[in-house]
């Protein structure tokens, strides 16, 4: 799995590629919390286009990112969810908690 960060206007977009599971989900968590807590970015956009699979530990990392963004008054937005990612969020009843967009343009414009 790879994570890279880029700035678009006031947002930071984290591009993730590869599958997210127990072996690497802490990297996602750390990347999210670094942007939200340490750098104080006001809008963090997570690009999951390149993520075919995400497990419960990955979902837990997203929830931590969401909670951190709420605590700091910033926004945390997702886009590019695969069927698998959407299903796991749905089973966990977390899908409605997140701001989810189809693509980057929509996520940035939101």
């Amino acid at each position: 799995m790879k994570i890279s960060a880029r700035r678009v206007d006031t947002a930071t977009i984290l591009d993730v590629s590869g599958n997210i599971d127990m072996s690497n989900s802490p990297e996602v968590r750390n990347a999210l919390l670094r942007e939200i807590r340490e750098k104080g970015v006001t809008r963090v956009v997570l690009n999951l286009t390149g993520v075919a699979y995400i497990d419960s530990s990955g979902v837990a990392s997203l929830v931590e990112g969401l909670k951190a963004s709420r605590d700091s008054g910033s926004r945390f937005v997702l886009f590019g969810l695969s069927d698998s990612a959407r299903e796991v969020l749905k089973i966990s009843r977390l899908l409605k908690l997140f701001e989810v967009y189809d693509d980057e343009t929509q996520a940035i414009a939101s």
């Binding site: 599971d21 072996s23 419960s56």
Partner: protein, 175 residues
């Protein structure tokens, strides 16, 4: 550590008798980097069995979460402990129709699991963790845990409903 170089599994004698009856047997170490190997092995098998993409994802999701739980709760993060995964084809008659499915058995030699103490948080709580059991139960038709001697056995079953295109038998597939 390198899981491939780890010592030979122990405590799996009981389960090894079943290997002939199964479509697939995987032996692996409790190393999280091997989760992708399990997913990679199951995907083409479920495709071969005729499961739809949606069912295929559900089965892989459940097995991945179950193995993650073994690594986390049964082996407490130790990386070199044995895990075995068996897959078998199932068939049943329901309302005059034949439903085909898959049975997946997972064995480990870790401490007995007190299922009442496994973290499974209420889904209306917004906090990380405790989702694995929900995901397994929400993905499979049957989830059964049993302590068998020194082994933990988890049995997962998923049937493909005929109305969903399901799990037909393809020509040339093993029976």
């Amino acid at each position: 550590m390198n899981p491939i170089a780890a010592k030979q599994p122990r405590g799996m004698k009981k389960s090894s008798k079943m290997s002939r009856a199964f479509l697939l047997k995987l032996e692996l170490r409790s190393h999280p980097t091997l989760l992708c190997v399990i997913r990679g092995a199951l995907e083409p098998l479920m495709e071969m069995l005729g499961f739809s993409d949606e069912y295929n994802r559900a089965i892989i999701r459940a097995v991945d979460e179950a193995v993650s739980n073994i690594m986390r709760h049964s082996y407490h993060g130790r990386l070199d402990q044995p895990i075995e995964v068996y897959c078998n084809r199932l068939q049943r008659r329901t309302n005059g129709e034949t439903e085909k499915g898959v049975e997946i058995l997972l064995f480990d030699c870790g401490a007995a699991v007190d299922t009442t103490k496994l973290p499974a948080r209420p889904l209306d709580e917004i906090k990380p963790g405790g989702l694995g059991l929900h995901i397994i139960r929400g993905s499979m038709d049957t989830v059964e845990y049993k302590r068998a001697g020194r082994l933990n056995r988890l049995r997962l079953v998923k049937y493909a409903r005929s109305s969903k295109g399901g799990c037909g038998s393809a020509e040339g597939e093993p029976s």
